[in-house]
């Protein structure tokens, strides 16, 4: 494939960022908006061209003997520090990166369009579009990375743009602290990832330089994945705390993914990140950036496969997180927080699905199912967030207590939101049903415990989603809205809702297994009736229960809350994770450890530096007589210098 399009796919959003970022001050809102949307539309077209060419052209470059190929469209040396330490920048096209190209550009375009209406009156509109372009650039660079370094660079860039967008309303203290929290927590997780990368590269670098993993290929995904036995061989014999070093490296790399994907216990930043503008939550904190962790595991899957312990770790983390987030989501009032916890829970679903995937179980069904769910989830979760944005736009509050009976005023939002809820609840034949069914089949195939546990989480999902749905759109009309009738959003906002709703209905019928599988061979999806029926029945019961509680105004929810006061408060306060963090950081780390380190820093480190500075000043004063302005002295010094050089060398040598 010609490399023009791939280069443009990376260059265009970056150029947009520069144009909007530097020239935005002098642009009108309209120009900035049109520029952003048109640029993104062009990006969408190019990404679709590349992805569709990859999937459908049948070109032997992309598919050979029924196996989809991994193609590096280009891979150029960027920085060659030493022979072993080479950083490349490239464009890798394989099923998951092509799929991500579609997801990112679709959602990004929808969000660009939607923001035109949603952010219309906000100051800094141009800056907002510039940051969106920066994010799109970083995310695209991340998914097409050919090596760990490139991925790490863009991984951090994604973090930066997320930070900038969460803190977009920089005059709100809560937004500022949320942005800092998001950045620090994810950065903290990235530290482990970096350690993991270094451990991995240290051992891989032990292989011969001219071998398959020498030079730049020591960091190349394709080489690492195809030479996984060599990677394993290089770490043989090295163990740490009872686990092989490779297991540790892979777990540490996964910790970076835990940070970005908000897995417990590093999930605390995501609910707060909802302080950012709602379209940003839809793009970054629901559909694309937060699934980077899932993408990371999928990218390294062959390596994870040779150390199954790390996959078990991923499964356990995912299963706990999924359940925890679902329970918390049942007891939130803020609709964006509910969606945030729902996102955490759904991403954990994907993690579990990846964790249970084994080649011998249905040909690695879990991997395919996880990617499938990533795709469908991106669509319906973006839809739900954008719908929530429309609600917030209409009533100027995030809390469902301010809403109720909204179905009368906002029919478009109501119907699209309902579709989103049905999709996430996994009701036949919406998209969520198909992907969730595949995931649950994979889990049952691994161990019935995972299947049963996650079926229960799926039931909780249906419950809290419909709890929100009924509470917002049914329940009792807020008398306040008799006078100020809320109304549906303008067309720029409704259009993305309708489009995403249609995608959410039909995307389940995509034969996803034909495109994305762990070994890139086609997998024919089939429904396991037992699993499908169970999950639908569970979901329907949960929806019915939610309806029984919340369809009409009544005191049943209040009585339930009163019956279990402790549980409700604990779940509402997210089981006190933030408080635990506060305690650990402030009380233990700041007071205990930091004080000693601060003393060391002030007295020993600063003392050394001060001494160096004092010495420098001292000698500087001492030698200034050398420069006295007299040319005779200069020449004398010159001569002495030359003679001294000769004499000292002579003495030393002879």
């Amino acid at each position: 494939m010609d490399i023009t399009l791939p280069i443009l796919i990376l260059a265009l959003p970056f150029t947009m960022f520069l144009i909007l970022g530097i020239g935005g001050v002098k642009m009108s809102r309209k120009l900035a908006g049109v520029l952003g949307i048109c640029g993104n539309g062009a990006l969408l077209a190019m990404a679709y061209t590349v992805a569709f060419t990859y999937f459908f052209s049948g070109n032997p470059e992309f598919i050979a003997d029924g196996i989809r190929q991994q193609v590096q469209l280009f891979d150029v040396t960027w920085l060659a520090f030493t022979e072993r330490m080479v950083v490349n920048i490239g464009f890798l096209l394989d099923p998951i990166s092509a799929m991500m190209l579609i997801v990112i550009t679709t959602i990004s375009f929808m969000v660009h369009l939607y923001s035109w209406g949603y952010m219309e009156h906000e100051p800094g509109f141009q800056r907002y579009y510039a940051f969106l372009s920066l994010f799109t650039f970083s995310m695209l660079g991340l998914v097409v990375a050919t090596n760990i370094f490139q991925m790490y660079i863009f991984w951090e860039l994604v973090g930066v743009s997320s930070y900038l967008l969460i803190g977009f309303f920089y005059k709100l203290p809560s937004a500022v602290s949320a942005s800092k929290k998001a950045f620090i927590v994810t950065r903290f997780a990235d530290l482990f990832m970096l350690i993991g990368i270094l451990v991995l590269s240290y051992f891989v670098a032990q292989t011969p330089a001219d071998g398959p993993l020498g030079g730049a290929s020591a960091f190349n995904f394709l080489m690492l994945n195809s030479e996984s036995s060599n990677v394993l061989a290089s770490t043989i014999g090295a163990t740490f705390l009872g686990g092989s070093v490779l297991t540790w490296a892979m777990i540490l790399i996964f910790v970076g993914g835990m940070g970005k994907s908000a897995m417990m216990p590093l999930h605390i930043w995501l609910p707060d990140a909802m302080e950012g503008p709602t379209p940003v939550s839809a793009l970054i904190h629901a559909a694309t950036m937060v699934v980077a962790g899932v993408y990371l595991v999928a990218r390294f899957f062959p390596l994870y496969l040779i150390v199954p312990d790390s996959l078990t770790f991923i499964t356990v983390v995912g299963a706990i997180t999924a359940f925890y987030a679902a329970v918390v989501a049942c007891c939130q009032i803020d609709i964006k927080r509910i969606l945030a916890f729902s996102t955490i829970s759904q991403i954990a679903f994907m993690m579990v699905s990846l964790g249970v995937a084994r080649p011998e179980l249905h040909d690695g069904l879990g991997y395919m199912a996880s990617m499938f769910h990533l795709f469908t989830h991106a669509m319906f979760k973006a839809l739900l967030f954008l719908g929530a944005g429309a609600l917030i736009h209409a009533v100027h509050s995030n809390n469902y207590t301010e809403m109720g009976g909204m179905r009368k005023y906002m029919p478009i939002t109501h119907w699209t939101f309902l579709i989103g809820c049905l999709a996430i609840a996994g009701i036949f034949p919406l998209s969520g049903f198909w992907s969730k069914d595949e995931m649950l089949s994979a889990m049952y195939a691994n161990n019935w415990i995972w299947g049963a546990w996650m079926t229960m989480v799926a039931g909780l999902t249906a419950f809290y989603m419909f709890r929100m749905y009924f509470r917002v759109f049914w329940w009792e009309e807020n008398p306040h809205y008799k006078e100020h009738r809320p109304h549906d959003a303008p067309w720029q906002m409704s259009l993305p809702l309708i489009f995403l709703a249609i995608v959410s209905i039909f995307s389940g019928f995509i034969p996803f297994g034909e495109f994305v599988t762990w070994n890139r061979e086609p997998y024919h999806i089939h429904i396991e009736m037992q699993v499908a029926v169970t999950s639908i029945v569970v979901a329907l019961i949960a929806i019915a229960f939610a309806g029984w509680l919340y369809l009409k105004k009544n005191d049943k929810p209040a009585r339930m809350k009163a019956a279990l006061p402790g549980l409700w408060t604990a779940a509402n306060r997210r089981f006190y994770w933030d408080e635990i963090y506060m305690f650990v950081t402030h009380k233990i780390i700041f007071n205990g450890i930091c004080k000693a380190i601060a003393w060391f820093d002030r007295h020993i480190i600063d003392g050394t530096m001060d001494a160096l500075a004092a010495m420098t000043q001292f000698f500087s004063v001492r030698i200034k007589g050398m420069q006295n302005g007299s040319v005779q002295t200069y020449v004398l010094w010159y001569f002495f210098g030359a003679v001294l050089l000769a004499v000292i060398t002579w003495i030393c040598l002879l």
Partner: protein, 480 residues
């Protein structure tokens, strides 16, 4: 004699041709036509630069091996040309000022002659040719340093420059005469390499090498052969100061490498390795120690350039890869230092202010100049992601790649010195951005040439490190 041999000297011939064009135009044109001399010279020189970049190198020895023009030589000349082009751009306004305009032809002619001399220094493989190059690169510079006829400091600087230059030539020739004795009566680098036998150290040979280092060390302003630097830099017109600090120094560094690796390469270990070891440490350290006390920007840049020369000289310790990283270092040094000088000369030309104290609060009145100066200082100090960081890291890795423990120590000492240098470079940044109080330099508009020079430098500072092509160019030019 085969006159086609002159074909190998194409870069020199281009510069010579340009010199003749400027000379004839200056001599025979009327006052009206003279007005276009500056733009004409600048544009022609720009074209010459492009021509030298793109003409293929013929990689041959001519005149019996006296002269070589291989890819490495061509790359060095091309790098110098970029610097000279920036100097031309940034000096255009000064050249057109009332005091100088009447002699502007001389300015360009003398500058081109020195450049021609530097070309010969780089390409020479025979000491006679080298000395001719060296002298034609030195003597016209004395006239240029004295170019501000009506300023006392300019005369003083020129006198100091010429006296020290003469002395250094004497020392160099003395060293050379010893070498002549050893090489069996030949001044060809090849003969010297073949006849001076490693391991046979006599006092005379040591003195010869030490005197050679001292002689070329003058142009590089290595400590303790540097004492002329500060006075001359301060007194000379700013355009000449920037030329001296960058082009003259770069050419001397290249020539140093060529001579010591080609003619005395076999004496590296146990001999001039240790001499350079000491000289580099002293140069970097003393340059830094003096720089932290300077208030006059030109003196400040003088000592900064002394310390930078020490870093440049690290390249001679590492052979071929050292030359590649040295070329990259010099290229980056050219854009960074000339960026700083573009700001200094722009402020001097418009307001006459030269002290660091006058830079307080500069960002309030001249934000773009402040921005460029900050980038230049960051790059000189070696702060990532600017080019100076990459040039430092590459020259350090080149030196440590030899694996010698002593060289590791050398790099460590150089690293500690970068901390000191960070202090004084940041003093300028602090004055510009942080120091309270009203700005002392009023807002002004720079001339078009100054702006262009500044933009080229800023682009170089930002992209030279991040775009791998630049380093690869140097690497390929040296190692093929």
């Amino acid at each position: 004699m085969d006159y086609s041999q002159f074909g190998a000297m194409l870069p020199e011939l281009i510069i010579l041709g340009l010199f003749l064009v400027v000379f004839l135009f200056d001599t025979f044109s009327g006052d009206g036509a003279k007005r276009i001399l500056t733009p004409l010279t600048t544009v022609l020189f720009g074209l010459a630069t492009v021509a030298i970049w793109i003409i293929p190198s013929c990689d041959m020895e001519v005149f019996g091996g006296m002269y070589v023009n291989d890819t490495a030589c061509k790359a060095m000349k091309a790098i110098l040309n970029v610097g000279v082009f920036i100097v031309f751009l940034q000096s255009a306004k000064w050249v057109e000022s009332d005091e100088v305009a009447i002699r502007k032809g001389e300015f360009y002619e003398l500058l081109l002659v020195t450049l021609f001399g530097m070309y010969l220094m780089i390409s020479a493989r025979h000491f006679l040719l080298f000395i001719i190059g060296l002298e034609s690169a030195s003597l016209p510079l004395a006239a240029l340093v004295a170019f501000n006829k009506k300023h006392y400091e300019s005369h003083e600087a020129a006198a100091k420059y010429i006296l020290t230059a003469v002395f250094s030539s004497a020392i160099l020739l003395m060293g050379l005469s010893f070498v002549y004795a050893f090489s069996g009566g030949s001044l060809y680098f090849d003969d010297i390499r073949n006849n001076v036998i490693a391991g046979e150290y006599s006092g005379l040979l040591i003195a010869a090498i030490a005197f050679m280092i001292a002689g070329i060390g003058f142009k590089l302003s290595l400590v303790p052969f540097h004492l002329w630097t500060a006075d001359v830099y301060q007194g000379a017109p700013t355009a000449i100061t920037s030329y001296l600090s960058v082009i003259s120094k770069g050419a001397a560094a290249f020539a140093f490498f060529v001579i010591f690796v080609h003619a005395f390469g076999q004496l590296f270990e146990h001999m001039w390795e240790w001499m350079m070891y000491g000289v580099i440490i002293v140069t970097i350290t003393v340059g830094n120690l003096f720089a932290i006390r300077q208030k006059n920007m030109k003196r400040f840049m003088a000592f900064s350039s002394i310390s930078q020369a020490g870093y440049i000289m690290l390249g001679v310790m590492a052979g071929g890869i050292g030359l590649a990283s040295m070329m990259f270092y010099i290229l980056v040094y050219i854009v960074s230092n000339l960026g700083a000088f573009a700001v200094i000369s722009s402020i001097e030309n418009n307001t006459g202010k030269l002290s660091m104290d006058d830079y307080d609060g500069l960002h309030k009145t001249n934000p773009w100049l402040s921005f460029a100066m900050t980038l230049a200082m960051f790059s000189l100090a070696g702060i990532p992601p600017f080019a100076g960081f990459f040039s430092k890291i590459l020259i350090f890795t080149a030196v440590t790649s030899t694996g010698s423990m002593a060289l590791y120590m050398l790099v460590l000492i150089a690293l500690i010195n970068t901390i000191i240098s960070l202090y004084y470079y940041l003093l300028v940044v602090k004055a510009i951005w942080i120091k309270p109080g009203e700005a002392k330099v009023e807002s002004f508009k720079s001339a078009i040439g100054e702006k262009l020079a500044l933009w080229i430098c800023v682009a170089g500072i930002i992209f030279a490190g991040l775009v791998p092509y630049v380093y690869e160019y140097c690497y390929k030019a040296v190692l093929g």
